[in-house]
C-alpha cells in the first residue's frame, strides 16, 4: 500500500519534471528538471529494491553527468532558445509517429495487464551491492573492462575536441 502511494507520488514528480523539461525554454531549467526526474527515478529504484542502481543513479547521473551539462550551459552561457523555422518532417512525420508509439505501448500494456498474474511482485532487496558486484566481476567481467576502455577513449576524445584549436 505504502509502496503504491510512494510510486504514484514519485511517478507524478517524474512526469511533471519531464513535462517541465519540454515546457521550459531555457536549457538550464530543462537540465534541472531532468535532475528532478532522475532523483525521483532513484526513489523508484529503491522501491524496486535496486539500492545500488539507485545510489549510482544519483552519484553518476545527477552528480556527474548533469553537472557536466550545467557546466557546459554555464560555459557557453546558453540563453533562451530562439524560435527558428520549424522542421516539417519533425512535425508531420515525427510527432504523429510518436503518438502512434504511445498508442501501441499503451495497447500492448493493456494486453499484458489482462493476461498477467498480479501475484508476481518485486523482491524486497534484490540489487544488493554484493550481488551486483558478483555479477559485474564474474559473469560480466569482460564487458566491464571494455566499458572502462570506452571511458578512457571518451576522455581522450573530449580533451581533443574541446581543446582550443592552436593547431
Amino acid at each position: 500500500m505504502l509502496h503504491l502511494i510512494l510510486f504514484f507520488i514519485f511517478a507524478a514528480v517524474c512526469i511533471a519534471g519531464a513535462v517541465n523539461l519540454l515546457a521550459q525554454s531555457h536549457p538550464i531549467n530543462s537540465a534541472l528538471s531532468l535532475i528532478v526526474v532522475m532523483g525521483s527515478l532513484a526513489v523508484l529504484y529503491l522501491l524496486l529494491g535496486a539500492e545500488f542502481v539507485a545510489a549510482i543513479q544519483i552519484i553518476i547521473y545527477a552528480g556527474a553527468v548533469m553537472v557536466l551539462f550545467i557546466f557546459v550551459i554555464m560555459l557557453l552561457n546558453a540563453g533562451i532558445e530562439e524560435h527558428s523555422g520549424k522542421s516539417y518532417v519533425a512535425w508531420f512525420i515525427g510527432i504523429p509517429s510518436v503518438t502512434v508509439l504511445v498508442g501501441l505501448a499503451v495497447y500492448s500494456l493493456v494486453l499484458y495487464q489482462e493476461n498477467s498474474d498480479p501475484a508476481i511482485g518485486p523482491e524486497p532487496i534484490l540489487g544488493s551491492v554484493q550481488a551486483i558486484a558478483h555479477l559485474l566481476f564474474g559473469k560480466f567481467l569482460l564487458p566491464f573492462e571494455v566499458t572502462s576502455v570506452l571511458i578512457l577513449i571518451a576522455i581522450m576524445g573530449a580533451v581533443v575536441l574541446a581543446r582550443r584549436g592552436e593547431s
Binding site: N29, L32, A55, V67, I73, M74, V129
Partner: protein, 356 residues
C-alpha cells in the same frame, strides 16, 4: 509503522537543531581559535567569552535587508542557497551517532535512517552520503551562474570543477576502508572496528581503528575533504584577493547565511564520516558506575569529542596554511591524490586477499 515515522520526525527535528547550534558555535570556536593563534582575543564582547556572539550574528543575518540585485536569474538565485543548505543538512540524516538509545518504552537508534526495529541500518549508507555530497555542487554552481556576475561565475566554475575532481579521490580513499570492513553500512563499519586485530603481536587494548591500517587513505580523505568543503587551503571559489567573494558575492543576509551554514554543516558531515570510518565512531570506554541512561549517552559523548577534534583540525589548518594556486590545486588532485588513492586500493585489496 506510524510510531516509526513519528519517532523519525522527532529525531530529525532534534538533530537539525543540534546541528544548527553546533554550526553556530563552530563559527564562534573558529573565531576564537584563529584569534588566539594570531595573538588576538577573538569575540569577547557579547556574553562571557563572547559566547552569545553566534546568536547576535543570527539576529543580524535575519534583520539585514535581503536584496536581490537586478540582472540575476531570479528563480535559481533564490533556489541555490536553499539547495545547498538542504543538502548539507540531509547528509547528517544517514550518519549514526551512536548505539541504541533506550527511551522508556521504546529504544531507538541514534540515527534518523534506521529500520523500524531500530537496530538495522540502510545497507548503502555511505553511497547515499557520497551521492548527496555530489549533488551539493549544484547549490554553488547555480548560485554563481544565476547571480550573473563574472566573479560569481568564475567562483562557481572553480568550485564545481574542484568539487568534482576531489570527489573522485575522496570516494576512492574510502574504498580501502570498505574493503577492510566488507560493508557499505556505516553502522557495520563501526562495529567492524570494534573487532580485535588479526595479528597476535598487537595488544588487545589497542583500538582497531582503520586510521592505522589506512593511514594513507585517511590523509587523502582529509585533503580531499578540505577541497570538498572549499575550506582553506582550497577555498579558491571564494578567494577574496582574486574574486571578491566567489560564488556568493551577490548574496546577502539570510541567503548568505545559508551558504555559511551549508559550509559548516558540510564540515560536520565530513568530520562525522571521518570519525565513523577511521576512528571507530562512537566506540570508547564506558564507565560502569554511571546510571544506565547516562551510560547510553557516553558513546555519543565520545563521538562528539572525535568530531570536535576534527573541527579543531579544520580551524587549525585554516590558521596555518596559505591558499593554493588553482592550477596547483587541480594538478595536485588529478596527478597526485588520485593515483595515490588507486595505489592504496590495490595494496589494500591484495592485503585483504592475502588475509582471507
Amino acid at each position: 509503522m506510524l510510531t516509526y515515522i513519528v519517532i523519525a520526525a522527532i529525531k530529525s527535528v532534534v538533530l537539525i537543531h543540534v546541528l544548527l547550534g553546533a554550526v553556530a558555535y563552530t563559527v564562534w570556536l573558529e573565531r576564537k581559535v584563529v584569534g588566539h593563534m594570531q595573538n588576538r582575543w577573538g569575540p569577547t564582547r557579547v556574553g562571557p567569552f563572547g559566547l552569545l556572539q553566534p546568536i547576535a550574528d543570527g539576529v543580524k543575518f535575519i534583520l539585514k535587508e535581503d536584496l536581490t540585485p537586478p540582472h540575476v536569474y531570479k528563480p535559481l538565485f533564490i533556489l541555490a542557497p536553499m539547495l545547498s543548505v538542504v543538502l548539507a543538512l540531509t547528509s547528517i540524516a544517514i550518519i549514526p551517532l551512536g548505539n541504541q538509545l533506550p527511551l522508556g518504552r521504546w529504544t531507538t537508534a541514534l540515527q534518523i535512517t534506521s529500520s523500524p526495529a531500530g537496530t538495522g541500518d540502510i545497507n548503502i549508507g555511505l553511497l547515499i552520503l557520497l551521492g548527496v555530497t555530489s549533488i551539493a555542487v549544484y547549490g554553488i554552481a547555480l548560485a554563481g551562474w544565476s547571480s550573473n556576475n563574472k566573479y560569481s561565475l568564475l567562483g562557481s566554475l572553480r568550485a564545481s570543477a574542484q568539487m568534482i575532481s576531489y570527489e573522485l579521490s575522496l570516494g576512492l580513499s574510502l574504498v580501502g576502508v570498505l574493503l577492510l570492513a566488507g560493508s557499505l553500512s556505516l553502522r557495520e563499519i563501526v562495529t567492524a572496528q570494534s573487532r580485535s586485530y588479526d595479528f597476535r603481536w598487537i595488544p588487545a587494548w589497542f583500538p582497531h581503528w582503520y586510521v592505522f591500517p589506512q593511514l594513507i587513505a585517511f590523509f587523502i580523505y582529509l585533503i580531499s575533504a578540505y577541497a570538498e568543503t572549499n575550506r582553506i587551503p582550497f577555498d579558491l571559489p571564494e578567494a577574496e584577493t582574486e574574486l571578491v567573494a566567489g560564488y556568493h558575492t551577490e548574496y546577502s543576509a539570510m541567503k548568505f547565511a545559508m551558504f555559511f551554514m551549508a559550509e559548516y554543516a558540510n564540515m560536520f558531515t565530513v568530520a562525522c564520516v571521518a570519525t565513523l570510518l577511521f576512528f571507530g565512531g562512537w566506540s570508547g570506554p564506558v564507565p560502569k558506575f554511571l546510571p544506565p541512561l547516562v551510560q547510553a549517552f557516553v558513546p555519543l559523548f565520545w563521538f562528539a569529542i572525535k568530531v570536535l577534534a576534527f573541527i579543531f583540525v579544520y580551524i587549525w589548518v585554516r590558521g596555518t596554511l596559505p591558499r593554493f594556486r588553482y592550477d596547483q590545486l587541480m594538478a595536485f588532485g588529478w596527478k597526485f591524490l588520485l593515483p595515490l588513492a588507486i595505489a592504496n586500493i590495490i595494496i589494500t585489496s591484495l592485503f585483504v586477499a592475502w588475509l582471507s
